[in-house]
Each structure stands twice: as C-alpha cells, then as structure tokens.
Symmetry: C2
Subunit: 632 residues, 2 copies
C-alpha cells in the first residue's frame, strides 16, 4: 500500500510485569482506524466467553487512532475499553484533553493490559521507553495528589496521566478513568475504573516528543486555520465556549424533559438556582480545553464558601450538573459542584453516582429502604446526605457499599420492588436525557452495545427541523427532518445512520462537539483529515464501513458474553406518562420500541428478531472472528 501508515501496539501483562510490542500491518489500521473499532477487534478475539470483568482474563485497552494528535481541533480523544463490570458486556468510554495526543507521541496507538498486577503499579512511557513502576505510595490517594506525585517522580509536569481514584481501587462498578492536568477529561461510563482497579493499575503516564508523521501537513494546517476562523460564527460552538454543555439544563427544563427526582418528572422547579448561569455567577473559575482546540468548552469551578471546591477538578458539565441537581431534587448548585469535584477527586462516574443516589433517595421516599439502613436522611433534595453517601460509595462504606454496585445490583440486593426504580439499561445508569420527549434517544439506550450511554445515542432533537444540524448531516443521506416524538422507520433510519457515524467517530477518537452531530467540521472534512494524516485515498463510504464493522463486532462480543434480545430493555418508568410540564402525558410505547429494535436489527444487516448478524454481513464487513457461528 502506498504512503504506508505504521504504528505500534503495546501489550502489557500485569501479572508477570512484562510487555511486548506489536506492529500490525497497514491494512489493520485501515480496517479499524483506532479507538472503539480497534478495541472491539482485540476484545472480541482475545477474551474467552463469560470472562470475569474484574478478573485477570479481562483486558483493559487504551486506544487512540490514526489521526490522534494531529494539530487539528477535535482529534484529541482516547478510548478506554474492556468488558464492563456494570453490564457484563462490552464497555467503553472516551475522553478528550491531552492524554490521547501525548500517548500517540510517546509511540503507541494502543496499550493492551492483560492480567492483574500483584501490587499497585503505574505504567510510564517516555518516548517509547516503557516502565512499570511501583504505585504503593499512590494507592488510596486523591487523583490530584497522584498526578502531582507522578509529575514529581518523573520530573516532568508535561507528563499526561490517566488514572483511577480510590473508587476504582475499591472496585466501585461505576468508577471512571480520568486525566488532567485539570480533571475535566473523564472516561466516565461502563466502569472502566473498576477494571483498572482490579488490575491494580493506578495510572498510565505518557510523555512523547515524536509528533505525528502526517502525510500532508499543509492540508491539516489549512483545516485548523479554517476551524479557528469559522468556529465563532457557529452559535452552538459559541455557547460551548461561553457556557459549556451545562447550558442544556435550562433548555431541557423548558422542554419539559429534564430528568427530575429519578426521572419521575420532567420539570425541575429550582432550575434557575442550579443553571449554568447560576453556576458561572457563583463559582466561575475560567475555562479550559483540549489539545489544539480553540473552543475551550470546559468550565472549572471554585468556591471558598460552605463547600470548598478546588478548580483542579474541573466543573460539572451538563450530565454531571443534572445528575446532582434535578435528578436528585437538589437546588444547591454549589453542592452539586462539590459532588462533581468529589467524583473527579475519587474517580467516580458522575452519571452512575448521581443516578444511583437518586435511585436510593426514591427507595427511601417510598419506604423500600429506611433511614436506619442508610444511616442518613437520604431524601430528594438533601445535599448534605448526598455528599455523605458519595463518600461512602467511593470508599465502599456502610450503605454506600451496596450502592457502589450500581442501581441494578443494588436493587437486586434491596428487593421489595426496588428494581422498578433502577433507571438503567443492561446495568448501566441512564444519562440525563429523558427519551419520553425525544424518542430516538430511547432506541439508543435500548440498543447501545454498552447499555444506556450518552455517547451512543443520536441527538434526536437536533434533526427535528431544517437548520444547522440537518444541513450538516445531508451527506449521510438524511435529507428530511424527523419528528422528535416519532419512532417509526424514518427515525430508526436516522438513528442507524448516525449510530454508524458516531461509531466511526469513536473509532477515530474525535470529539463529538467539533464534528458531530456535525456541528463544525463537514462530513467530507473527516475523510480529508484521515487522508492528510495517513496518505490513504479513502472516502466517507469506506470510513462509515469502519463504524458499521465496529458495531457489528460489538454485537458479536455481546453475543459471545451472553447478550440476548431481552437485555435491550428500557426501564418501566419510561413507559409511564410524564406527570406534568410541557410534555405531560408523553411516554414511550412498548410496541413501538420493540418494532424499532426489529427494524434497527434489519437495517444493520442482523436478523430482525434475534439481532444476530447474518453470515453474509460478517463477510461483507470482513469481520475477523473465526469463532463466530450463526445462532451463537
């Protein structure tokens, strides 16, 4: 192949403390690109069926892509993937920041961790030199302290550190992985922090000076310049810069679908007190961003008030803000910001933590559990009790030890109908988007390979009307607006095409906000950037096939590990009508959801009823998994 792309994949056996380097052929990179698709390939092929997610047979994969680290906004993400301890199925989480680019410059497209270390360690890579270092003195420490310690130990504050916190060490099932230097960059979902904790791997520290050997520097420079000159004219990008995603809280409340008190309502009466505007007014600590991106959409917060908030730990974005305010009926924005700080300090996924606490609050409100059992008045709106239980979860103390298992397992343990209040799909807690007002999101929650996940869904509302978003996705074959409240074939088609597109972006490890739902870069820019980075003569067709291939490999992975059609189930509550507000009376329809899942399967080239990919589809996508047989 001309203009060969070359890369390296590091395989670290933590049990033995040894490592090897693999150099796949260029065709491998062209088939998988990186990120999700690369991780899917290895996890599908390497893991025996029914691998224990917290055992040594699970693999934890850090992956970037063929474009990561090129000097263009949005190309900075990295993927952390493994079998998920929350879902027992494929798990993955992406984060932006500076780690992904630095890992690439340090010499690796992916790091695959096998086995479990007998003692706490961290992996250090400097310009291709690999070292497993003792992490005993870091174990149990806050993330900020660990980052500082590693910087000191390695003598370089430009070392990028991705790590778990105490929650990951303690195998909290919704523990996250996160990186700095300001902790705004969180691989939050699917419990990747618990997998890392089970391996006694506290951190991965990377530093590299070898910039990407891109094939067409000038093309990339032009695209970066174009981005820099045009992004401010995009109202959505400007909002991200000025306010951040937290701005959506007021918007969703106005639309009547802001998850409130564990999704029992869609309007939160104290929205004004906890809005992004209120947070900026009271807690503003400037802005922060990612490698090569001028948008700087992250907004750290600080406070010396009732709650001391250290801006080192960033600030709550939309999901986190809603998880710790409306979702729990809490009207104190500083308390929510403090909860966000603690999650990042201890390595908890804010969605998992917030939605699990809301579940517990409703259990207590409904008398399913008692204050005595919990040890606190853990009711909707009680910020103090929320912060207390957060600590108990991170350190698995008292009732927190039960909640550290996530809503599904906690509900099973609690019994007495608690499972009706667990807002989860496949064991993973719902993001803070109520599908009753944007039904494609419900389909996304149901069929996502990772369980309910905000990075697997289509941003339904954005394509309901002609305008910026719809205009940008026309090259994906979506030319007509689709009603947010529809879940017919048109919606399933929109969802399927966009799921493939986002699967591609998760394989390229690109930021969804710069390129998707295609806010800024055009669809064709994606092919141009891949071409400039690799020298390949490619197209959106070939790239979309990577996204589709990855989704099909994830379905195979899940089939191998026990998935069945019944697992694609939404919480019962979503089939109940919203009780008030602009969307009063709206609910998901069970028959409609089931029909949409059938149609989605068919559109993916999988058996409509069973969801098993056809052999022809596997051959078409050249899925390399010799062990697969139809009907597995």
């Amino acid at each position: 192949m001309p203009n060969g792309y070359t890369g390296s994949i590091l395989r670290v056996n933590l049990t033995s403390g040894t490592w090897t380097t693999e150099h796949p052929e260029e065709i491998f990179y062209r088939t998988y690109l990186g990120g999700r698709a690369l991780a899917a390939y290895y996890l599908l092929n390497d893991l025996p069926a029914f691998t224990d997610p917290l055992g040594p047979e699970n693999e934890l994969i850090f992956a970037v892509s063929v474009t990561t680290g090129a000097r263009v906004p949005g190309l900075s993400r990295y993927t952390v993937a493994a079998k998920s301890p929350l879902t027992g199925l494929y798990g993955e989480a992406e984060a932006s920041g500076y780690f992904g680019a630095e890992m690439k410059w340090a010499g690796y497209d992916a790091i695959i961790f096998e086995g479990c270390s007998p003692d706490p360690v961290y992996l250090a890579i400097v310009d291709g030199e690999v070292e497993l270092r003792d992490a005993a003195r870091l174990w149990g420490k806050d993330t900020g302290d660990v980052q500082a310690a590693i910087w000191e130990e390695m003598g370089d504050r430009k070392v990028q550190v991705a790590q778990i916190g105490p929650a990951g060490e303690n195998l909290v099932r919704f523990a996250c992985v996160l990186s700095g230097p300001v902790f705004s960059h969180v691989n939050g979902r699917a419990g990747m922090g618990a997998v890392m904790g089970s391996k006694k791997l506290r951190a991965v520290a990377v530093r590299g000076h070898q910039r990407n050997a891109v094939k067409d520097e000038e093309a990339l420079r032009k695209l970066a310049v174009w981005f820099g000159q045009t992004w401010k004219s995009n109202p959505d990008d400007r909002l991200l810069r000025e306010v951040g995603t937290a701005a959506y809280l007021s918007a969703l409340n106005g639309a009547g679908i802001l998850p409130t008190r564990n999704f029992s309502e869609g309007v939160f009466e104290a929205t004004d007190a906890v809005s992004a505007e209120a947070m900026r007014r009271e807690l503003d600590a400037g802005s922060e961003g990612c490698y090569a991106c001028p948008v700087r959409c992250k907004h750290p917060v600080k406070s010396d008030g009732v709650y001391k908030i250290d801006p080192l730990y960033g600030g709550p974005e939309y999901e986190s803000l809603a998880a710790f305010t409306s979702s729990q009926g809490i009207s104190d924005v500083a308390a929510a910001a403090k909860a966000n700080e603690l999650c990042n300090r201890w390595g908890l996924d804010t969605i998992g933590a917030g939605v699990t606490i809301a579940f517990a609050q409703e259990c207590l409100e409904k008398g399913i559990i008692s204050e005595a059992e919990v040890g606190a008045e853990l009711r909707f709106g009680n910020a103090e009790a929320m912060l207390a239980i957060l600590e108990q979860i991170a350190f698995r103390r008292g009732f927190g030890d039960i909640l550290a298992e996530g809503t599904k397992r906690a509900a099973d343990k609690i019994g007495k109908g608690a499972e009706k209040l667990a807002m989860q799909v496949k064991g993973q807690e719902l993001p803070l988007h109520d599908p009753r007002g944007k039904k494609g999101v419900g389909l996304g929650y149901a069929v996502s390979p990772t369980g309910a996940d905000h990075l697997q869904i289509e941003h339904d509302g954005a394509f309901a009307a002609p305008g910026l978003f719809l205009d940008k996705i026309r090259p994906l074959g979506i030319n007509e607006p689709v009603d947010v409240l529809s879940l017919g074939p048109e919606k399933t088609r929109l969802f399927t095409y966009l799921q493939i597109w986002w699967s591609l972006l998760n394989s390229l490890d690109w930021c969804f906000f710069t390129v998707a739902p295609v806010r800024h870069f055009e669809v064709e820019h994606v092919a141009q950037i891949v071409e400039a980075c690799t020298g390949w003569n490619t197209s959106i067709w070939e790239l979309m096939k990577v996204g589709e291939r990855a989704l099909t490999e994830l379905r195979l992975f899940n089939l191998k590990h026990g998935w069945s059609r019944e697992d694609d189930a939404l919480p019962d509550r979503l089939y109940e009508p919203l009780p008030g507000g602009p969307m009063e009376g709206f609910r998901m329809d069970r028959e409609e959801v089931e029909a949409a899942i059938d149609a989605y399967h068919g559109m993916m080239g999988w058996d409509e009823r069973t969801g098993v990919p056809t052999e022809a589809k596997l051959e078409e996508l050249q899925v390399c998994y010799p062990g697969w047989r139809p009907g597995l």
Copy 2:
C-alpha cells in the same frame, strides 16, 4: 434545501398524442439522481404486474442525470429503460455520445413514453418545445437515412437523434436504440428497440441551447482541465484512444477466455486475422468520441473492398468484434465489420445478434436444425451465411424470424435440446466474456437485474493484483487483491460493492471508461462533480446509497413481474470445462455459484435464500413502493 436543483420530466402518452411535464421536488433528484435509479422508480411504481413488454402499458424511459451535459469528460451518457421483451423483467441500456447532453439542454431530465402510437411518429424537442411528428415516410428506412431526413426536416444538423432501425420496427427482441451523428453510440441490450418499435416511435430528436445551470463552474472547469492534462499518462486510457476496446480481443485470446464458437472454446486460432490491429490496418477510418471528452475511444471503419462499409455506422468495439468473429468462428475481419455496420444500420444489438447466430450455427453443426430449414449453410466460419441471416433477422424473414426472438425463445421453438446451446441468462444473450476464467463475471451474469449484461458486471481480472485498478477502488473499501478464479466471500464482497458503484454510475449516466473501474477520475471526484453541478453537500456514502437503492428497486420490479431465484441460472455450458488453451479444464462450479448468490443476497440486505429484500432494508433505503409486501 439550499442551492436547489430543479428539473423537468416529460410524460408523453403516445396513444393519445398528448404530453405533460412534471417537476419533482429536489429531494426526488437527490434520492434518484437520474438514469437507472430514476427509471427504476417510475417503472416500479407505474407498471402493473406482468405488463406486456410490447404492449401499451409498458413505459419507455429516456433519462439523463443531474450531472449530464456538464462540460467534463464522461458525463455524457443516457439511459433507455423499459420492461424488457427479452427477459420479461427490468431492461436498461446506456449509451454515450451527444444525445444525453442535448436532451438535457433541450430541457428534460427524463422522457417517459406511455401507450402506443397508432401511426409511426417521432418526438421532437427544441428548447423545451415538444412536438410529435409524423414518421410514416421514415418507417422502414436505414438509421443513417432517418437521421439525415430529420436533420433536414428540422433544419438543423445539430439536432441529436436517438432512434430505432427496421429491426426495432419489426420487434426483433434484441433490437437496439442508437444515436449519432456517427452511429457509435448504442443502447444495445435488453431489447429497448423492440419496445420503442411497439410504440411506433421511430426517433427522439432533441436540440437545446440552455446549458446546465451548474453551481460551481470553476470546480468543473478545473476537473476538466485536470482530465485533459492527465489522461494520456493512464496506459488504459491511451489504449482506448489509440485502439479502442477492440484491443481486448487479443488479450482475452491470450488468456484463453475469448468466447469461441458459441462459448465452446476459449482460444480462437484466427485471432491475428481479426484483431483490432488487423482491423486498423485494413479498415481504419479515424476516431470519434463523445461530448466534452478528449479520449475519442470510438474507431469507425470503412471499406470499398468485397464488403462496402460506410464509416457513418462506426466500427466494432470489443463486444461486437468478438460476437462476429471468434464467437462464430469467422476469420474475416471485414465481414465482421460489415455485420457491425448492418446492425447499426438496421438497429440490432450486436451481442444479441452475434450470439444468437452462433447459437444457430452450433444447432446446425450438431444437426439440431438443417440447412434446408435455415435456407443457408449457416456454419461456424461462414461469413456470407452470417450476413445473410443477419438481414433475415432484422426483417424477420424466413429462419431469421425465429432467431429474431433471441436464443431462449428460438431454442424453445426448435426443441431437440437446443436450449443447451442457448448462451443466455433470463433470455438475454451473454456478452463476450467467458466467466470460466474470471468467475466474478459469472456471478454478475447470474444476478444482474437485466440478465447477462456487460454493464452490470465487475471487471474481475482488473482487481486480481495490486496496481492501477486496485489502487483506485480502495476508497470503496476494497483494499486487497482478489483472485480472478475465486468465487468465495471476498469475491462476492468485491462484486457487491462494485455493483453498487456501477449502479450509481448508471444512475449518473457516466461513462464507465472515464470513471470506472475508476480508470481515470478518482472516487472522490464523483462526489465533487455532483456537488459542483447541484450545489449539494453530498458524499460517496450518500451516492453509494443511490446505487444500492436502485438495485433494490430493480429487485422489487423483477419480483413484481415474476422473477424467482431459479431465474438466476447460468447456461449449463459454463459448468463444463474449457477444452483447451491456457484455461483448459477450468469451469464454473455449481455449488460455488449458488453459495455466492446466497451471500450476495445477504450482503444486499435481502433474504439469502429467496432474494427478497427485507422490510428493514426497504425502509433504510427509503424505497417508495407502497405496494410492496414481503414474500410478494
């Protein structure tokens, strides 16, 4: 939609002699583009099930595309489509030249003919003004005379005339449509000339002065300039210019797969005497081409020798040359060139005519028919008898009346095992490519919606090794060479992707030699040209979906008109080994072909066994056919 593309579709009722103009919305053009996809839409929706191909309910559609007529090489084709009198299924044929562009400039993207005129007519369009004119004095005349008469009648030698000849008037089932000014541009296959004859429509004459309202003239100009500067460095394009497709005859003979004596052999002993080189030496009359293209790959011939050959009728390209030489064991290149001239004079498809005559020759050689029945010594190698029977076919005289039905119906009439010698799929004669040495071609013949068709197949050999062709199709996701003799999943995948690609090109009405198998333009140029012509923000993904949509609509059309899986049958002879030459012993394998058809169905999102598109696939492709139900 911004930058709206607007167009007009003319619907002419020949029974009543009236017409109307339709103006579909822009989304229609974006969904179908033109050519094949547009014709498929109308034929699927308009024709009742089991419509008589030669009756008034059949529609004959002339269509160009949103890019036709733009001043870039290769954008000059037009589609003629109808239900085929040869196959009873979908029929279509494309031709280049000057007619397509002129039809567009005259104001129409498509002309749909309904009904049957009581008397011979021709349709004249000048700058949007439509007129049905009496053609009584043209009826029965040679094509050259008719073109001259229309030029005179309309007072303009720049009028472009697409017409049938006497063969079409006489409903010869393999009659063609063709256009000038030199008759090198033939819509040959599927019997479109017979449909036109059944409607008593002798010609369509167009003249327009309104050049395309393209959105980005400068982009198109640059692409045309780039083509002009680079095509000579492409060895394949240079060969086309210097020799034309006829050059393939020697190459295929050398490879041992030149159809010889009705496909009973793969090597023709007299190849040197009938090669393109011999033809140029003896009959050369310069070169000729198409609108806006510098390649000029057409090579008219002339002679004042034993056979008088008028260069007005062009010269034989590869298919025609092989059909009238090796295929019939004829070693006289002037006789073959004369046969080509007669086919174009009378409006016969050279492939249909040549292969049908070869069939009759073998019937006579094998004693299935007698010289007395035929009225001539119609044996392999007898050029005089061949030319005599050609006239009998065109005018449906004597034994020619039986052969005018095509090999399938002729064999049924002859009986005595003649059907074993009929080299046809679904009633359409095989092009001059023997699949025993390039097996993907066999799959193409089997599953083509139009029966055996050289414009529906993948050029198998071209992708067997790294090099020009393989490098160019990488953006379509084909990154590794596939053995010409394989018919496994890799080959089916290659075939399926390329069939979608060519279905797109037939919908855009682009020349396969300038862009496919991607000889000159790059894959991405196709999206760029569509964007420049229409102003749409599109991508190869969206465009490939047009190709896929058209193929699925054609499958629905064929299902509606009685197709079943058993119709995708190759002639038995292809399962017998080639008797000598470099490919001695090679044959198609029945199980392998059946498995490839299953896999092809699956890859298209159709039921593997039945070939019926799934409902989900129809919804995904937004196929508009309310009457369709699974299991139809």
